[in-house]
């Protein structure tokens, strides 16, 4: 496989990639149900649950940059954010006896209930 130089941007749960001199992205990857793996010191890959053998590989300039990306991408999914919210909500509720989501008017939403969205 040939390596092509790309500008890569992580925006919410999408990884956009651009040709370095263009304003419009050539493609994007939705980062849900995916696995981020550090392959070599400066190479990481993204693979998706429904097609695990297919790896999107990215080579970074340095190992440090690679580590940064792996950390960021592991936390990029909406599902990860949801789990964090449920966790913090539960912790705060345990400590104060109050539901911190009440002030936002979203405490009843099914998507934030403890035990929801176990995968």
């Amino acid at each position: 496989a040939v390596l092509k130089k790309r500008l890569v941007k992580l925006v919410v749960n999408f990884l956009f990639y651009f040709r370095t001199d263009e304003a419009e992205p050539i493609g994007a990857l939705l980062l849900e149900h995916c696995r981020i793996t550090k392959e070599e010191e400066n190479v990481f890959s993204i693979s998706f649950i429904e097609e695990p053998e297919r790896k999107y590989c990215f080579e970074c300039a340095t190992e440090e940059q690679c580590q940064e990306w792996v950390e960021a991408l592991k936390r990029a999914s909406y599902e990860f954010l949801r789990r964090s919210l449920i966790f913090y909500r539960n912790e705060i509720q345990k400590m104060t006896g109050k539901d911190p989501l009440e002030q936002y008017g979203i405490s009843e939403e099914a998507r934030f209930q403890l035990g929801a969205h176990r995968q």
Partner: protein, 260 residues
Amino acid sequence: MKLNERSLAFYATCDSPADNAGFLYKRGERHTAYHRRWFVLKGNMLFYFEERDSREPVGVIVLEGCNVELCDSAEGFAFAIRFGGTKSRTYVLAAESQEAMESWVKSLSRASFDYLRLVVRELEKQLQEMRWGLPGGCGGSREPAGPWKPKPSGLEQSRERLPALPAILPKENGCAVWNNVLGADRAPDTSGCGGHDEEGSPRPPPPLPPRRRVSNGEAASAGAAVAESPSTFCRLHEQYSREVARLRQDWQQRQRGPRP
């Protein structure tokens, strides 16, 4: 633009629970006829299928940087998903009842990743402050200025506004971390904390020392300044604890009534 469509289709149809699902009428792009479609909201993605049991979605709307509004058109129970940017289209949808319309508008307007991230950061901040016991009251929560508005970082926005990486990265899944804005611009919570009476008695807690009722600005800058230095924080902590102990003593004596 290429997209990992197979992964998207998987996300749409896998058995992870949807945040909302139901039939909606969708107005066509070129022709104004409405088509009935099965809609599934998962995270910040609104998928639509031709039929409820279709194996693949026919389309998806990514709910970032958009506004969800009611339509004042003649069509009953209609609402629109509007994006900024010159090339973006507005999606006009209609529900089959008032209740369904309200439920969809509510869930769609809070579906964005941006919105969720704001809420998570707020909770993270609250939890840190509770665990580290910053001055200014326990678990003080900032009153939101108004309804949460997602930051406009829509996919249709101009490129210069897109960040390369999330600005603040949590260190570990679910663990509290030092946030670089500790207690700043946070109004002290004078409503009191529930359930923290050490004595376990039903008496209300003593009033906060008068110093704490300063204006938001003063408390905020004081809070932010001292949070930077652990040694000053310790000193302040000591000071406050002595004062609290003294006040508590005074209050208890008053509760017991004048000595005979």
